[in-house]
Symmetry: C2
Subunit: 615 residues, 2 copies
């Protein structure tokens, strides 16, 4: 396209953004208008993409990190012929694919859900990593960022990761329109301030007038020809560009323009320029994904093995059987035991250092390219990435997360290192799967099984060794449970998972010796829960005691409730969980202090049997 | 002290670190040994601190961002005479104040709990902000960081914040020992790599040999004389310094030295040098905290007011009544409505831009200095700061968090902007308070009341206007609830909070018209819950339907369970919550699609009354 046509295309993208927001009665036209010329030049001259084949391996990947500028994205889709005028006008309506913030659940051209700022670039780094280290089909990753979101630390985790990995297939485009939601950003139009930061982190930087289409064109060209480092294009722009009443003015964020018709006229009126987007080069994936026999580790009954060890060994085996498995760790692979995978499959292991947001974002990017990521760090530190996991859930991203060092059972290190809120965090995510194995064979089987789930899958592992209680041929379906003790005379049911299963078994022995037989259920699948088994136990014993190495709220005890929430008669319930703020102590002392060891369980059970209530 | 004595003091700190870890059988001596000389010089020459009066307003503040180096901290306490030899040897034992990672719950000299990396510097920025903008007694904030934690984005949020606020009272000391837990860091001993980054963010940087006590001494002096910007001292050190078998070697993180006796001998043996730490200058707080009459806003019954507006107006009024109230926002004060406070009390308002981790960390720092912070952003984006809130809870920090734009009720913006997991996140924190008002008068009262709670307090607000259902003189004790409808014939109880209270009231009307009277409870205090009222309702109606604009797990429905977990007979329960992944739609469409509007509630209630089960 000639410069004049690029300018016209930019104006059309503005007009269509204004129109979509006006039709919806909400949205972010001014944030779209600032980046319209950047988008026009990219779409017309540099992006290589087949909108009819979004799965084409050689397609470039575009991520709208400033997800609120969705009108601009949809206007670009229209210009590329991917959507029509009628659909554009459904923006933000019930049932429309064109949501307020774009998601891949609805649109095949969207790589990842955005709308929580500072996440698009981190995920883009994951996609670029996939391109550079695994896919190797030469696609380029383009990420359009806002300037406000550069305040997010996750941007700098991404900047560090991208430069360290020499991701010259990645270009960040920053729409420096100087205005955030509430008012001016810290650095306004000081492009140098941003350039200094990116340069310090090892990026090639280009400063440009974001409304000069020729300059923008040259900037993209320079980015494409930069070798050995990622490029950031810092573009000086005006929010609301092109409409006098809106341009560079405060107080107009996230609102339709007051007089849309007048604005459209000022922008040159409605047009329908169609862009012939360059197709990607012919390509086939070079990594023909191997799938072979899965030879999981096998542990002998009675052996003492930590579930984190079983995780690491099972993951290494899974990586041998399946070529699409990748692993990422946050500089604690010697603790999480993902090091077993790293040693056997170094080409598919990604060291992400102590940057848990980037750790999860990189996995989301790899998953977007079809890989099956396993992400590991301490359960406690996955809270650092909560917003990223939340957004991954919105994307429908299929990632596996493993949190080690769960609960007070870790011992001396104290509460900062204890995962005590992780079950609550992962259970509350839409369509998530939450698993908590108690022994090594169970852990190994679940590590393999979780790969087949939809959405976010979480597996919780323990630091300390525990006895193997299941044989290596036992099966553990997701959504199932295991009844470890049952007699016709059971007075109540102990429901445990992970570390507390062993305590519950010992408690059952203590109680049996006192003439109080109890049922024991291993609820390794915390979500979904095994409703049928819980209901049978409720009918059989009338009373359930849940025991968990987790805070009272949102964990195992609450999960049991899921079996009874259709209005049917409820069993009586007692929930044993960590109610105190732990300090340093040995694992056994911690379990006792928290009231979740065998002795505490037995005491509660006796109270319940003898007095009908516990407290 | 002379150089020779400083060197000896450094060796003593190493020896005591080795001894404490050896006695405990766990801990991080090698990470302590690298920073021992940095600590020795700081303690002997630059820190101004009265260990007998930790609350002294002019005390310098020291934060151990690399919290695992706790043996070094405790060795320094011993050298300063704050703890004795016997206590040092209780390190990591049950009941000891000397936890694996330091917390202010146990030790009066600790400003904030550390152990989750990348948090000490952000909190230190908050303390320095307090010193610069509010306290103005000239204290200095010293933060000892590890090099591994510089990969955390939160460090760069803090770097940005500190430089922008010209915090020349803040000095970060980075112990660049080149080794993380698993192996080498990205940048090893390349001090320049770190210096470039900090310079780009606006810091004064000093590179130094961290084992040259004279050079370190000069570096501290240079930091003290630097005006207008924060200083970072980048110190080249060796992990395990001083013990040949450990020095600069991989694989020795977080473990006692193999031969402690030999190591102690190599380090010069056990000594008991006592440091006379400089006292702080005489000072009194210049901000005599005003406490006046609280004139909360009053809303008329039937008016349409958003609870976020009531929050903003109440906070402004609270700020007028109390001089110790401060507010912080993440660049969305026009949406959260903290802008009302900002306009009336600009001196006590802190704009933190889009950096939610730093937003919460700054509040923790301000709270450490005695201020009462109110932190606001979208409920969804508080998930970004989950790990910071978790650590604040471990600190016992008294901070108020307000999450706006809760639930699907926000409408068109879509799921990325909807707080749907916030109740689960905040309920699962130890000793937290979780509030969810449904009208403006209730919101205003709770905003004031939450300041008086212990620990983490969370208040959830709504975007849209809703009718005022309580008079301005109504009281809302924390831990209470309101029975809004009750008759002797009630067939079941609807339990709602916030947005769903209004739906429940409408549903009750619909059901009454169909001859099905129901009770309605407004459970505005989600944690702690009003056990008595819930139990009475259970006895009265036998059946509870909970309705919440939140995911099924961890929210209001699970909270109700808290009233019945002592083994007593349970009511039948039905939980209505958001089970779908929302898209864009109007608020009313969203509530209906999620099955939590009046119509859906009434339909569930009828099913339950007519068929005894719902699903």
């Amino acid at each position: 396209m000639k410069s004049r046509q690029l300018v016209d295309l930019g104006q059309q993208l503005r007009v269509d953004s204004v129109r979509a927001a006006a039709a919806a009665g909400s949205g972010h036209p001014t944030s779209s208008m600032s980046a319209a010329d950047l988008m026009a030049v990219l779409l017309a001259h540099h992006l290589r993409y087949d909108f009819e084949r979004p799965a084409h391996p050689a397609n470039d990947r575009f991520v709208l990190s400033k997800g609120h500028a969705s009108p601009l994205l949809y206007a670009a889709y229209k210009a590329a012929g991917a959507i029509n005028e009628t659909e554009l006008m459904t923006f933000r309506r019930l049932g429309s694919r064109l949501e307020g913030h774009p998601t891949p659940r609805r649109l095949p051209w969207v790589e990842t859900a955005t709308g929580s700022l500072g996440q698009g670039l981190p995920v883009g780094v994951g996609i670029a990593l996939s391109g550079k280290r695994l896919d190797r089909v030469g696609y380029r990753v383009w990420v359009l960022c806002g300037d406000s979101e550069l305040a997010e630390g996750s941007i700098w985790e991404a900047a560090e990761h991208a430069a360290y990995e020499h991701l010259d297939n990645l270009t960040a485009i920053v729409d420096v329109n100087r205005l955030g939601q509430r008012g001016p950003t810290r650095h306004g139009h000081d492009l140098d301030a941003y350039a200094r930061r990116f340069q310090a982190f090892g990026w090639h930087t280009i400063e440009v007038d974001g409304h000069d289409v020729d300059a923008v064109d040259r900037a993209y060209g320079e980015a494409l020809s930069t070798v050995g480092q990622p490029t950031v294009i810092l573009a000086r722009t005006l929010k609301g560009k092109g409409v006098e009443a809106a341009q560079d003015r405060e107080g107009l964020h996230g609102k339709p323009l007051k007089d849309a018709d007048e604005a459209i006229e000022e922008l040159g009126g409605v047009h329908d320029i169609r862009v012939e987007v360059q197709p990607p080069p012919a390509a086939r994936m070079l990594h023909a994904v191997r799938t072979g026999h899965l030879d999981l580790p096998r542990y002998e009954l009675g052996d003492q093995v930590a579930t984190r060890d079983a995780f690491g060994q099972a993951l290494a085996a899974l990586g041998t059987a399946r070529g699409d498995i990748v692993a990422l760790d946050g500089e604690v692979s010697d603790s999480t035991r993902s090091e077993y995978f790293a040693k056997e499959h170094p080409d598919r292991f990604f060291e992400c250092y102590i940057a848990e947001q980037q750790l999860v974002a990189a996995a989301v990017g790899l998953a977007a390219r079809g890989w099956v990521p396993y992400v590991s760090t301490f359960a406690a530190f996955l809270t650092r990435a909560h917003d990223f996991v939340r957004m991954a859930s919105i994307s429908g991203s299929g990632i596996n997360l493993i949190g080690s060092h769960a609960g007070v059972a870790i011992g001396q290190d104290g509460p900062s290192q204890m995962g005590l809120e992780d079950l609550a965090m992962f259970r509350a995510l839409h369509d998530s799967t939450v698993l908590y194995p108690c022994d090594a064979n169970q852990a190994a089987k679940l590590v393999a099984a979780m790969a087949g789930c939809e959405g976010i899958r979480y597996l919780r592992t323990s630091r300390g060794a525990s006895p193997v209680v299941y044989g290596p041929n036992e099966e553990f379906p997701i959504g199932g449970s295991k009844v470890l003790r049952v007699t016709a005379q059971d007075r109540l049911t102990l429901v445990a998972a992970g570390a507390t299963v062993h305590e519950a078994l010992t408690a059952a022995d203590l109680l049996a010796a006192d003439g109080i037989p109890v049922q024991v259920i291993d609820l390794y699948s915390v979500k979904p829960v095994d409703r049928r088994t819980l209901r049978e136990a409720a009918e059989h014993t009338g009373c359930l005691i849940t025991v968990e190495d987790h805070r009272e709220e949102g964990g195992l005890g609450d999960a049991v409730l899921d079996a009874f929430l259709d209005g049917r008669p409820m069993p009586r319930l007692v929930r044993l969980a960590v109610r105190t703020m732990p300090g340093s102590a040995s694992p056994a002392e911690q379990m006792h202090a928290a009231g979740i060891d065998a002795e505490s369980i037995a005491a509660s059970a006796k109270l319940l049997v003898e007095h009908a209530v516990v407290r």
